[in-house]
């Protein structure tokens, strides 16, 4: 057995990390807000419905709720501005908000063009625009040794051509490929991009797609959230971030200010 490198179990990698999560009031997004907060991250989340945002803010102390719709071009910069203002920057962006497209699910040939556009707006254009708006802050985090990564929540429908999942599958395939291109292009900036397939979860989105599914046979979103956050921690570790170094840097800054 190779024991030439130290095996280290770290539980503080996410402590103080500034995380932004879209679609943060239900399903996987809500589970991610809870998981990241529980591991010590400072979390801002985005969702469309004010009442839901306020409810999650009340539930998770210290979380920052932002009302906005990533599918709307006009909402992107106000969202980005509030994320950056509330967190003081951003180290991790999770593009989780998703649209299933037309429900009940229909054949691609029966999909209205407008419904197809809506799926692309939420699942591709929204993540593209928000990532672009936050990229300066993410690259600055990387240069500052904090690490930086973007997680795009994909699906096995991005790979497998499931009938009636056309709008969703096509848009997730585009998101998946976009993630890979971002990652290639921004490797020198120190920003890594991850595409994750969280599996079939017991979420409102899955219930919309498959109303008669056996919920007990589906994965719990909390389980997927733990896996996704593990991958975020791995990405931050791979990028050279250590929680100890980051806090030391902050202390140094505070000392200089004082």
């Amino acid at each position: 057995m190779d024991t030439s490198y130290p095996i280290e179990i770290r539980h503080d990698i996410l402590r103080g990390v500034r995380v932004a999560i879209t679609g943060g009031t239900s399903g996987l997004g809500l589970a991610l807000v809870r998981e990241c907060s529980a591991r010590g991250a400072i979390v801002a989340f985005v969702a469309r419905t004010r009442e839901r945002v306020e409810r999650v803010v009340r539930e998770i102390a210290g979380s920052h709720g932002i009302v906005g719709d990533v599918a709307k071009k006009e909402d992107i910069h106000p969202i980005a501005l509030q994320i950056l203002a509330r967190l003081g920057g951003v180290d991790v962006l999770v593009n989780n908000a998703s649209s299933l497209g037309p429900t009940p699910l229909v054949l691609l040939a029966d999909t209205e063009c407008e419904a197809f556009e809506d799926a692309l707006a939420t699942n591709v254009l929204g993540p593209f625009r928000l990532t672009k708006a936050l990229l300066g802050a993410l690259a600055a985090s990387a240069r500052d040794g904090r690490g930086a990564c973007v997680v795009n929540v994909s699906s096995d429908a991005a790979i497998n051509p499931y009938p009636t999942w056309g709008a969703y599958g096509t848009s997730k395939a585009a998101l998946h490929h976009m993630t890979r291109i971002w990652n290639e292009e921004l490797i020198d900036e120190g920003v890594s991009f991850i595409s994750v397939d969280p599996g079939d979860m017991d979420t409102p989105l899955h219930a919309l797609a498959v109303p008669d599914a056996d919920a007990s046979a589906l994965k719990r979103p909390e389980t997927s959230a733990r896996e996704v956050v593990d991958r975020i921690e791995q990405a931050l570790t791979d990028s050279g971030r250590t929680a100890v170094d980051a806090s030391a840097m902050n202390l140094q800054n505070l000392a200089d200010v004082a």
């Binding site: 106000p78 203002a85 240069r143 292009e185």
Partner: protein
Amino acid sequence: MIAASVPIQRAHHAKLLVIDKNAWIIHAPRSSFADFLRRFDIVVANDAATLPASLAGFHAPTGEALEVRLAGSRSLDGDDVSHFVAIVFGPGDFRTRTENRLLPPRLRRGDRLALGPLCAIVERTLDHPRLVALRFEGSSASIWEGISQHGRPIQYAHVHTPLALWDVWTPIAGAPFAFEPPSAGFMLDWKTVASIREHGADFATITHAAGISSTGDDALDRRLPFDERYRISAATAHALCRAKNNGGRIVAVGTTVVRALEHSALINGTVRAGAGIATQRIGAATPLRVVDAIVSGTHEPGTSHYELLRAFVDDATLRRAADELDARDYRTHEFGDSIFIERRLRCAARAKPAERLLAA
């Protein structure tokens, strides 16, 4: 020069006028900016995102319309967003030239200003009818939401169409603390950043709360730039030190970067990590301790931006450059063309740090 009136950050035909350290003038496409860099140079840009700092509304006591332009804050902490210094205009908007804007109604301490979803209280009237200290009511979350949704970027009459936030959001934008865009950074797309590294140079950022560039009032304009907060990360301070030690030049993208780095170096000649408030004015008599070159927009004589350029190069060379800018149809203002000026060597700049301190 021609006023650039269309909000395109990186026009394909953008030009760059270069003044090298021998005061020679070179004309180049701005896309070739990185070709003027050398190994070990470091390019430093201001990564402050731009607030939509223009807030339309009305003066509650009189019902008169007004426009508030946020111009200074007391902190770069996102939780401390309630207090601002602001310039207030009467009815109208950016389509009226700033110098022709009406005065606001007489503002008194305690007056309420209704600004869309925001409510601001005049905390203090300062020493000019347009200048006040404001306090927004509500939580920091509601204030940020109100500013981001109701505010518009500050703009001037030379740009005819209303600016959207994305028009002034630089590719490298981070924390939103600039009141007007650090527009020299418009030229920096990610290809340019990669090109900087390919030339063996480094790239770093600071965050500097760039203030407003014009108030429409001569007396107030003479006081520009107002005090501006900045923050320099440990990584950037380290990178600057490394570049200097390797004989590289510090190339500032924009006047705000010059102001922050030179302010930070006032104490011992080196840039320190941390936060500060740039209070100094930079002009012909200012010895530059840190910055070796600036890339900036083109500026008109008499503005504080132009005054800052005089710290880099003598007036005769600047006049020669102005003639060239006119003759070759360079475009001015924030969406215009750029200049790159390398500082001429001077006795003060070559002095040892201790001697420089004494000279200061």
